[in-house]
Symmetry: C2
Subunit: 521 residues, 2 copies
Amino acid sequence: MTTSRPARPPQAVQGFERSEGEVIASFGTWATGTGPIYRRLADGIRKAIEGGSLPPGQRIPSERQLATVLRVSRTTVVAAYEALRDAGLVESRRGSGTRVAATARPTRSISDGRVPGGTGSSMYQRLIEGPGDLISLTCSAEGAVPELVAAFRELAGADLATAFDEPGYHPAGLPELRQAIADHLTATELPTTPDQILVTTGAHQALVLVSELYLRPGGTVLAESPSWPGCLDVLRSRGAHIVTVPLDDEGPDVRLMAEALADRRPDLVYLMPTFHNPTGVLMSVARRRRIAELCARHDVPVIEDNAYIVQTAAVAPGPSPDASRPLGEPRDLPRLLAAYAPRGAEVLSAGSLAKVIWAGLRMGWVRGPAEIVERLARRKALADLGSPVIDQMLAARLVPQLPRIEAARAPERERRLDRIEKLLRDRLPEWRWRRPYGGSGLWIELPGVDATEFSHVALRHGVEVVPGAVTDPSGAHDRFMRLPYTFTDEVLDLLVDRLARAWAEIGRHGPVDTRPVRVIV
Amino acid sequence: MTTSRPARPPQAVQGFERSEGEVIASFGTWATGTGPIYRRLADGIRKAIEGGSLPPGQRIPSERQLATVLRVSRTTVVAAYEALRDAGLVESRRGSGTRVAATARPTRSISDGRVPGGTGSSMYQRLIEGPGDLISLTCSAEGAVPELVAAFRELAGADLATAFDEPGYHPAGLPELRQAIADHLTATELPTTPDQILVTTGAHQALVLVSELYLRPGGTVLAESPSWPGCLDVLRSRGAHIVTVPLDDEGPDVRLMAEALADRRPDLVYLMPTFHNPTGVLMSVARRRRIAELCARHDVPVIEDNAYIVQTAAVAPGPSPDASRPLGEPRDLPRLLAAYAPRGAEVLSAGSLAKVIWAGLRMGWVRGPAEIVERLARRKALADLGSPVIDQMLAARLVPQLPRIEAARAPERERRLDRIEKLLRDRLPEWRWRRPYGGSGLWIELPGVDATEFSHVALRHGVEVVPGAVTDPSGAHDRFMRLPYTFTDEVLDLLVDRLARAWAEIGRHGPVDTRPVRVIV
């Protein structure tokens, strides 16, 4: 939790240069290959050059720097660079360090598909390549709930020939699904009509479309510190500056948020009020109300992303209970942020079935004023002409069951949470975290160790870690990492065992801090 | 067909101003409402203002202009503008015409979701709103083939609990589907490996992702004249200039294409070689080879969009048969353009199940060099983290059956084609077209009448026409319209009846040509 650090003022982040961190991230999971370690490292760098991620002339870290960051011997890096020089892929010159050779490979000068300055690329790369023998902590998704199989079989028994006898293009969403989502939100005390719902390919695409509508290159987004790299990459890909506000136990710091709204005049505010990813913070009712009012006063649209709305346990009454609607009921969540917004406020609420039903359905939505939803539907049509119909038919059958499905799964999530907490207490007693009420991961503080450096060691032990640095454009949270517990017992056991071995190794070498002291301006 | 016109040099089109045509298009399908016609027109304009499509200060056509273009009486327009002035929505000033009032509505200054200068928006709008009582010619999709229902039921009987027991994120595509598509293409004599395939949400998204990779604002795309407005909007939305090359019976004019490649140095070439939409032209083997070689020589990547690869009849041997592989076999198509490309050429081939199985599956793909496909996969991850898994499982079962499914449907398509041709010959004997070998529509030439003007009359008779002007950024083809015949017999009969009534009405008033003479520079 960020409360252990002094609150810092919001900071703008641009970063369209290829930093040392980005260069090293582009090497990918080289450490997991076979053969001598110098050869694996050289292969990782070669692939980054051939794949266009490291253009000719790009500077790469010195041998000493790289050895320190990757926690390998300097001899390993020297041998790897030597092999690359022999292959004509890099050049070293006294005074200007090592660079990708100008003749390395005449790649077409198109994008390598990554977001410039982005930190989410390595997560996407993992999804593209698949985890292999790695346990990847980039993704917290599980298999489907059994209710999906039941819905599928039920649909198979329906009159499909008639159901499929239409052109199949529904950019705004299948009418029956828009209705089901509207009814579901209305039941959570956020009155909603179907024309306020746009169906999207996951909450992710909702953020993409909202960004397209509100952001122009050079625009500004206010986000939480930390936030989620995959989402930050979406904002960055629009050419937006990201300004961050730190979180406390109840949500974003209101005083700093007010300052940022006044000083930076953002075009959009991006928040995760419900089991924030990666910290697990559940924004309190009082904070929801204050932030909704604040943004309305500054006339700034808000996108609230509630993709992680799964509970592990009853939500305790928050420190600031809603006087008009006490949170005394067990498992009662605050309403969505939009429900606390004053009249005329522009709050868009993204939701998803990924964590409650199955990410493979790729079903999400965004709720907002009908006139904004119509604009978003035009962007959806431009993006893909609409989501597939079959998944929407299944979703329309499942959305009305959400409260029941969610309640049925909570005990199992709680059991896994208990299990990983016990494993961590036993094997990694120095690690620190706070038990969340929901979401799907722990936010771990590594005492005295930079999580990026730990990630290099963990990779050699078969775990891909999401270090805090990539979650935070302001550069804070270097010593944190996200630890999802959405795995089977067998994988959870193996995961903690691998992490413990990596931790023991880094302990033997002792923590190394080679980074310059950060100066806060 | 464009052969009746002299070939014109390629022309650049920018068009980021809101033209008279765009303003009128933003009124939507006002003519189809109920009540007095002036009231319907006023309502259409009011909605365009309230929806943000016509910003405060935007000039709208004079009463005389609008009456001429819409083919309504001037009294109607005078009454409509009067009502809008009374509502404070428009202002008329002597000398500066009629404009949206500055105080009309303080909409947030965000995009209305339409592509600036785009002509595809009205098609998207129809998909969003649904056709209602209109017969819309914007969309040529049909209901699903029965094989989809069979595949769905077969999948329902499989071990779904196991199949769904994985996280569900596959940005590059489900491995079994990538394999099936690669095998399918290999069987069409285009050897392909699974890592050369990216699964997309329709061929449409393939074009979106390819555009993201290759186009920057101010870049240039070479496209055919005419082309498809929905696709042109994708290119425009990247801020690209569109340069066009006219088509003849065999495909794009090679001499003009060579000139355009040399003079305009485009970043990307966008072609529809197989039953080009809207003309239905099937690019010959000789032309495929020459164009692939030409683009390779100029080092320009090509995206070929083969979404309309459905046949109505055996393809006759083309005027330039491939000496090495005669087209003697009935129903034999030329191979994809990529198959004729020299080594090292960068040809991306988009495909789709939309016309062969069902558009509601939203299943498409793009084939290309593996290193480009990996870059595209990163953009796919950024766009939506991957397509839904269930549709991909269904597609993986259907792709191997494609040749059989396609052959089974061809006679029905041919029968519908026969039917619409007979109806047109009977009711609209002045209209001109050429029978295509495939695709899903006719490219009709309206003798002496501007198709945009005809579209306003047709709308009042319950048909939404896609006029040639929106298919062609160069401004040619004003007298053409696309006429899909993918309707039931009942709808086909009604459609031609409505078109014939509209044609009779425009005949009574006589063709009006109010546009200035176009000057070709």
